[in-house]
Subunit: 419 residues, 2 copies
């Protein structure tokens, strides 16, 4: 038997923020890769992006209308309209080579280039046409209905900064600036190793005492949502040799996640295996949180290794608290926790213990009249009860310095994705 | 020239809610397909899912400890401990064939099956062992540390209802119930047709008057986020024949989106093409919204057809308002708008016009001390200015019955994804 705390309980629990700070010191940033912009949705930009062009690259009309010198419209009124001679008419995808002079107008379409001399565009609907003249009934200001050259983006301007996630709008702006390739951080490759002699593969019929292994699939789904690239490495039985071998194999990945075997029971071998290596450092084993207190986190050969609880709910919370953070930190993301959060009124009092962070599943409802969210804690929430997370919209974290939260107090709810 | 309103402006604008109601009447639900549960993240369940098993399928210990009859612990105290004889010890993945009788205990691991006779488990740490006896110092209640058979899910219970999106937790619960395949709605296939003679492909160098076509890429990204399957069908010039041909081709898809050419300018041909077919119905052309008022929506041969503004920002807002709704409605989703939303305090007054819904891009900040979001409207927000959406966290909708919103008022902000 090892010199350990197994069957005796944890001697001490490390606070979550301390664990995250330790992790942050050890995390290595992922290498950079160049990818096509059109495939970059959801990726994280690895270096500030500078526009090679002005956008738009010419003064562009925002309306179908007439390009004029705005000053020539000054003084126009219904009773005393101003008259403009139509000197040219351009179609879409054409440019006028005329220069607009006093009381002259060029008819242009939406998106058309405003010709030299003109500084503004008056809408069709606001004019009346007589042969090759238009009547204008009110003055327009300079640059009215015109997008100036470079108004959207100026050449050499930083348009998207490092650490930004690419949403549809970032993708669009990059393409509009003719940036077809961009540098992003490689996705961390994550090895997921479910452990436990009681586990059977999905599709098998479990005997009494056996459990269908599902944690690897929930963790893989979370990896996808957080932007990592998961691989499942079989089910490993509670056997030191097998576990040591799979750990060695898993160290080829950027992040290693074990589920099960992290506590202090007789079969909780992984933290001890790690401890006995000469290239490892345990950052925490036993964390002051609930659920998930048996979680162990280590660095082995510079790679973060997480030993999550075998309980499905605790495993998910362990992921969201530590691994999501690690994945995003490895990609230098500005926002380390991508979960949206809302403020809500708590519908029922929740007790908790000082010195421990409690994670409580809640169902959220929105009251349209009061314009308020209400959060209802989900009862019967043992961390083995998967249906409790299915009923939940999100999670409340009760901080270490609180002894519970009263009914009607305001809380922050972190939302599950996708919705 | 057609008998139309081109170059004269819209005669009337349909309110958004009216358009959505018209759409809802016409939308056909997608067919159902059976897919593997492990690949179902983000898909929408097409029929209520019933569990074929109890979960757990045996009474399961939540702790490493001793299975006992709880009533035998009653009266135990530090001064008068109760003694239990260890009659068996099971390892993980084993079951005991012993029946636990008065003052007997079976040592079991976390996840182990609670043997017959016993109803509760007392933790190792709470006992003291002497040879084959343990001492117990306090009473435990029935079912303490035991997940009863069927506690999570009962056989034949509906575990996930139709219209639910599959998050990591739904995926996990399905697998835990040994449901390896599920019925989901097929993803609507979306044809995206960017139109305009002024458009050039990404990578080309646009001349004065030309524009790089990017709307199709932003719309395709949004389709992915909303759960549809986009295909881009070239760039089509403003030519009636070409447009008529591509529309015919696009009608093989479930949803058809044109960008550009939807307004009332000389080159805005698509709504007129649609109107002149004998298998079409225009639901709206001209919508009381800003940006996006020239949007046209039609049903052609039972397929919804959307003509979005060519302006990038207006096209995105048109998508979020009508097409996102349509995609989700076609899949019977419970939540038609998947965007998370938060309540925020407006940092600056925004004017708007009665009878029109205004969409205002805002940057959101969270004040940790006040536990409040603040929304800062983004200035210089012409609907051609892509960088304005890049700076935005989300959108405020100013409803038709308001003339603007004052500074410090509370507003709802719909958030952009991914974060």
């Amino acid at each position: 038997m090892h010199d350990d705390i197994r069957l005796k309980g944890f001697k001490q629990f490390t606070p979550i923020d301390e664990v995250l700070a330790l992790l942050d010191k050890k995390i290595k940033i992922m290498p950079i890769e160049k990818i096509k912009t059109i495939s970059a949705l959801g990726r994280i930009i690895a270096s500030d992006v500078i526009s090679p062009i002005d956008l738009p690259h010419f003064p562009r009309s925002a309306m179908d209308g007439y390009a004029v010198r705005s000053k020539d419209t000054f003084g126009a009124s219904l009773r005393a309209p101003k008259h403009f001679k139509i000197i040219d008419k351009i179609k879409i995808n054409e440019t006028s080579n005329k220069i607009v002079k006093e009381n002259e107008a060029v008819q242009i379409p939406t998106g058309g280039p405003v010709p030299e001399g003109a500084d503004s565009v008056i809408k069709f609907e606001d004019t009346k046409k007589n042969d090759d003249y238009i009547e204008v009934y009110f003055p327009i200001s300079p640059f009215k209905n015109v997008a100036k050259k470079g108004e959207d983006v100026k050449k050499d301007e930083i348009i998207i900064s490092k650490g930004t996630i690419i949403r549809p709008q970032e993708l669009t702006l990059l393409l509009a600036c003719n940036i077809l390739e961009i540098e992003v951080y490689k996705k961390p490759r994550v090895a997921i190793v479910p452990t436990g002699s009681e586990l059977v593969e999905i599709g098998e019929k479990p005997k009494i005492g056996q459990i269908i292994e599902t944690n690897s699939y929930s963790i893989a789904s979370l990896c996808q949502i957080y932007g990592a690239d998961p691989t499942r490495l079989g089910i490993i039985k509670d056997d030191e040799k097998l576990l040591a071998d799979i750990l060695e194999q898993a160290l080829k990945y950027d992040i290693i996640i074990f589920t099960g075997g992290s506590s202090v029971g007789e079969y909780d071998l992984i933290p001890y295996l790690i401890k006995n290596r000469n290239d490892s450092e345990i950052l925490a084993h036993g964390i002051s949180m609930r659920p998930g207190s048996p979680t162990a986190i280590a660095i082995v050969r510079d790679k973060p290794v997480f030993c999550l609880s075998g309980y499905p709910v605790a495993a998910m919370i362990g992921f969201e608290t530590f691994i999501g953070h690690t994945i995003r930190k490895m990609m230098n993301a500005k926002r380390l926790d991508p979960r949206p959060f809302v403020k809500a009124v708590l519908k029922r009092q929740i007790p908790s213990r000082l010195g421990r962070r409690d994670f409580v599943r809640v169902k959220l409802t929105f009251d349209k009249e009061q314009k308020k969210f209400f959060a209802e804690p989900i009862r019967s929430s043992g961390s083995g009860i998967i249906s409790s997370v299915v009923r939940a919209s999100g999670i409340i974290e009760i901080s270490e310095d609180l002894e519970g939260i009263d009914k009607n107090e305001e809380v922050i709810v972190k939302l599950y994705l996708p919705r």
